[in-house]
């Protein structure tokens, strides 16, 4: 993994490598590299499903589903310190809680674009035999 993505704070800047904070992930799993890899692989499978769940909840205006899906994705993103994703998920989760869909489509579009970058970065930085 490139050094710049280990410690750099997540930002909404243009650097793809700055989105994931692997040290936050290491801290979550107590420094267990094998577990970190396992969790990252689960994230790669599950996060797109959750993102799709958010989209479907907006399509059918299901506030409860929106809240739950956004909450779960936020929780997963926090493990890897992906703060811009956490912030957007929090906005969507709050919208679901308040049953207010105003502005949620725009938030989703931003989230989907960010998640594309996160997935690319995570795949790129995960070596075949170990985490970042």
């Amino acid at each position: 993994m490139a050094d710049e993505s280990k410690n750099s704070p997540p930002s909404n800047g243009s650097s793809v490598a700055s989105l994931i904070d692997w040290n936050a992930g290491r801290q979550t799993v107590g420094g267990d590299e094998a577990l970190l890899l396992d969790v990252a692989q689960a994230f790669l499978v599950e996060a797109p499903i959750q993102l799709d769940g958010i989209r479907k909840s907006l399509d059918v205006q299901d506030a409860r589903l929106l809240r739950r899906m956004a909450h779960t994705l936020k929780s997963s993103a926090r493990i890897f310190g992906i703060l811009p994703v956490c912030e957007l998920c929090f906005m969507l989760e709050t919208a679901g809680e308040q049953e207010s869909f105003a502005g949620t489509r725009e938030s989703y579009d931003k989230l989907a674009a960010l998640m594309d970058r996160v997935i690319v970065e995570m795949k790129r930085t995960l070596p075949p035999g170990g985490a970042a």
């Binding site: 799993v29 779960t72 926090r78 493990i79």
Partner: protein, 307 residues
């Protein structure tokens, strides 16, 4: 081998919790993605403990706690809380959960909390039938600053409370958790005057009297070493009262209560007080802040609720 069921709709979170518990290599872990499947799993093969997320489809954490209390009251439930689920978690703590761990502190606290709750549920039941014949019991203890005395005292109180039909199995260990929090607070925060920050940095060793140089020093230094913890326990079939008094300087009761009430569940301090207030019917301090009195009324039984 102790069997633990981890319930979370997120595969990512299941792997984190499972991986952290698996490091102990003493648990047989199983997993469920929601409350409904968790109950099905417990019917097939009961667990010794359940660790659950709060927000899930098909029976959330609160519904799971209620179902376990109804169908498997002997199984304690630990909540994994996240920002946004505090209200649900507080309700679940009041309705039957044994403890909680914030998802942001799983690495530091999950295994420790699991062991703490398991230790409390393993209480000796040797005198259960005899205690069932007791009408009232009153116990007064004067404890030196020895953490090794805390677990036996809790075991004894749990036997008394459950044997006298004050509480069901679930409330039995919740009483244990609350009393342990009060005793640890009296010993470390009260008598030894260890600050909250110092407690947090040395949490792992505190239960065995190790881990913090300051604790070791104060256990032998005046005035700390002369101080004792007074414990009064009164149990009747309809009510129990626990008074825990330390000989430290006390604390600003109003300020601490206000800060704990306003703080989220993932706040680094105040966890003991959160559990005491969730598990007891009343928690009151004296003006000096060195004495807490907790009251627990009899748990409603299934036959009560049916009438």
């Amino acid at each position: 081998m102790t069997r633990i069921l981890v319930v979370d709709d997120s595969e990512v979170d299941r792997r984190v919790a499972g991986g952290l518990l698996q490091r102990e290599s003493i648990y047989d872990l199983s997993f469920a993605p929601n409350g409904r499947e968790a109950i099905a799993s417990l019917r097939e093969s009961p667990a010794d403990l359940v660790v659950t997320d709060m927000q899930m489809p098909e029976r959330d954490g609160l519904e799971l706690v209620r179902a376990i209390r109804l169908n498997f009251p002997q199984i304690p439930v630990i909540l994994m809380t996240a920002h946004g689920s505090d209200e649900l978690a507080m309700t679940a703590l009041r309705e039957g959960a044994a403890s909680y761990v914030s998802k942001t502190h799983l690495n530091e606290r999950l295994a420790e909390t699991v062991e703490e709750v398991l230790a409390i549920t393993r209480a000796d039941r040797t005198y259960e039938r005899l205690i069932g014949c007791l009408d009232r019991t009153e116990l007064d203890f004067t404890l030196d600053n020895d953490p090794a005395l805390i677990d036996p005292l809790i075991d004894l109180v749990q036997q008394m409370a459950a044997g006298m039909r004050l509480c069901d199995t679930n409330d039995r260990f919740r009483i244990g958790v609350a009393l342990k929090a009060a005793l640890l607070n009296a010993l470390y925060r009260g008598n030894l005057e260890i600050s909250c920050d110092q407690m947090l940095t040395a949490r792992d060793g505190l239960l065995v009297g190790e881990g913090l140089q300051l604790v070791r020093q104060r256990l032998h230094a005046s005035p700390y070493c002369q101080r004792q913890v007074k414990v009064e326990v009164v149990i009747r079939p309809e009510l129990a009262r626990f008074r825990v008094c330390d000989e430290g300087p006390g604390f600003d009761v109003a300020a601490v209560l206000a800060s704990t009430s306003a703080a989220p569940l993932d706040a680094p301090s105040g966890r003991g007080l959160v559990l005491m207030r969730a598990f007891m019917d009343s928690v009151e301090y004296n003006a000096r802040g060195n004495e807490v009195t907790m009251t627990k009324r009899r748990s409603p039984t299934r036959s009560d609720s049916e009438t």
